[in-house]
Subunit: 329 residues, 2 copies
């Protein structure tokens, strides 16, 4: 995220304690935000605020900045807990927090950061901001639950529609829908209804692109382990599309590996499945799907922003979301 | 908690989903609140509100009830995460949530319940309520971090003062200090400064009593596994007092067991340590300490409530806290 926003996030978090144990907690709270996340969501929120007529330096801009800080704090506490839930190894090129400090301390640090996030929302003082964050967390937790429940219950009897429902709940709300809406709220303007379908399509494009990068991305650009989704048994559009068409023997090998917990998976079999997926047309299919969702979302967004107060900022906002489905990292 | 307060908590939580996976999430959110917690903290809050002149049925009473519901929701999401952090087996006589549904789903359900709690705080609309909950969660997370960090780092080189600092942060704020203060805020009255030292002493008494019950309580009355604190390697006043005086061989056996993770501990050795603790004077020492803290806290509280608008309610409030150090469950 941009340096001044990072400073704002850090200004809300405790920095120094005389007790070394509490110093560790404070360092844990400040760890993920300082690992250089891209700040996609806060940028979208601030671009939306400008498109809605909020001028940098104004009092409303301060409100938008606190909401943007809160959104980054949301992203960071969710990542701490996600990494535990998925037992991920890495985050932004370094070991995940629970791999550095153990699961109990990391769960608790995520909870503490969650509470500090509400401090930022409260500080923003933007009417409708609290309700927006409440709805956002409820939807995100529902989507995360769907994803985790499928892993927990070894559920592979899923359609592409199931996947899309999960992704809309888990990713699209907090990545696109809510940043667009918060920008309007920061301007004191009721968010357009069309932001929801636009954001759901653009958010799905964003997540499907992430799934593609996880299998076929450049390890030097992509901050997570390539193939990590396979080890974690994640449902993706790619895998569901491939699974419906794979030769019986490949299907059998895949499902047999997916019945195992992560540490019991056979690395050679996973590497072979990874090759099958890359050689199938399913990565291409998913990327095309993401491109189509991005186009659809962008059209809806352009229409919704036609009457926005600041047209130059509206075009910048559209430029920002245009890359969601084609980014490299 | 009282049935009408449970209804209020449940009214804030989603009940029905057509998707069976989401139905599971909603059932998980409603599980711990429905297991019949005693509602000590919400009762304290409501008693404090009445002592400060809030009359049942009034608009301010509605605010107090939403804050009380939020406090119970806080307790419940914290317990979900605590049970994972401590790998507890039971909660209120049933398996802990993560033992029923797995760690990932339980972490996520705790997060969702945390967010719903803020919905209740927001709904209360009591000036100062948001700030009070923010400070409460920060202190509780710091105390929880101290406790967990000692377990994680096998730290037994601790004084009774260390234990008391941890307990004040982890338990006393949310159990006594904050309920007393929220009752005043619900009445539109600035909380008395003396509520803090009073609540810290009474909260310490409450937790030390809990430690005593965990070792020496009646299994039929106490909702958690007797001796669970030993298996979880918890620092308690009892153990720290005993450790400073135990024969060298008992000390050695104890520290050797405490270096092991829970599943690797030897049940026979733990049972023997349990007996040593019961036979030592340390349980008595801790109970006396709890009684003294309770007396001190109660004196401060009586003084602070001398000018409270409703003296009859103030006496009921004092009666409520009087039992914190001597309860059986």
């Amino acid at each position: 995220m941009r340096p001044d926003l990072l400073d704002r996030v850090l200004s809300l978090l405790p920095a120094r304690s005389k007790r070394p144990e509490l110093q560790l907690l404070f360092d844990m709270l400040r760890d993920y935000p300082q690992r250089g996340g891209k700040g996609i969501r806060s940028e979208l929120l601030l671009a939306s605020a400008r498109a809605h007529g909020v001028t940098p330096g104004s009092e409303r801009w301060e409100g938008a900045l606190w909401l943007a800080a809160a959104l980054e704090m949301f992203q960071n506490w969710v990542l701490i807990h996600d990494d535990i839930e998925d037992d991920s190894e890495e985050r932004r090129g370094r070991p995940a927090l629970h791999r550095l400090y153990g699961v109990p301390l990391a769960i608790n640090a995520g909870d503490a950061l969650h509470a500090y996030m509400w401090g930022a929302v409260w500080r923003a003082g933007v009417p409708g901001g609290m309700e927006e964050f409440l709805a956002m967390i409820h939807r995100t937790a529902e989507g995360q639950h769907l994803d985790l429940a499928w892993v927990e219950h070894r559920e592979w009897n899923l359609t592409e529609a199931d996947y899309l429902e999960m992704v809309r709940l888990k990713t699209a709300h907090y990545t696109v829908v809510v940043p667009l809406r918060l920008g309007a709220l920061a301007a004191g303007i009721a968010p357009q209804d069309a932001f929801t379908p636009a954001g759901l399509a653009l958010g799905a494009a964003f997540q499907i692109r992430d799934d593609v990068l996880n299998l076929a991305g450049d390890p030097l650009k992509y901050g997570k382990e390539i193939g990590g989704d396979l080890l974690e048994g994640k449902r993706t559009l790619i895998v569901l599309h491939w699974l419906a068409r794979a030769p019986e023997e490949q299907r059998r090998v895949f499902l047999e590996q997916m019945r195992r917990n992560r540490p019991d998976k056979d690395p050679a079999a996973i590497a072979e499945i990874h090759r099958w997926l890359l050689e199938s047309g399913s990565v291409r299919y998913a990327q095309d799907y993401a491109d189509a969702q991005a186009r659809e979302g962008l059209e809806l967004l352009e229409e919704a922003l036609r009457s926005a107060p600041d047209q130059e900022a509206a075009r910048e906002l559209q430029g920002g979301v245009r890359e969601l489905a084609t980014r490299e990292a």
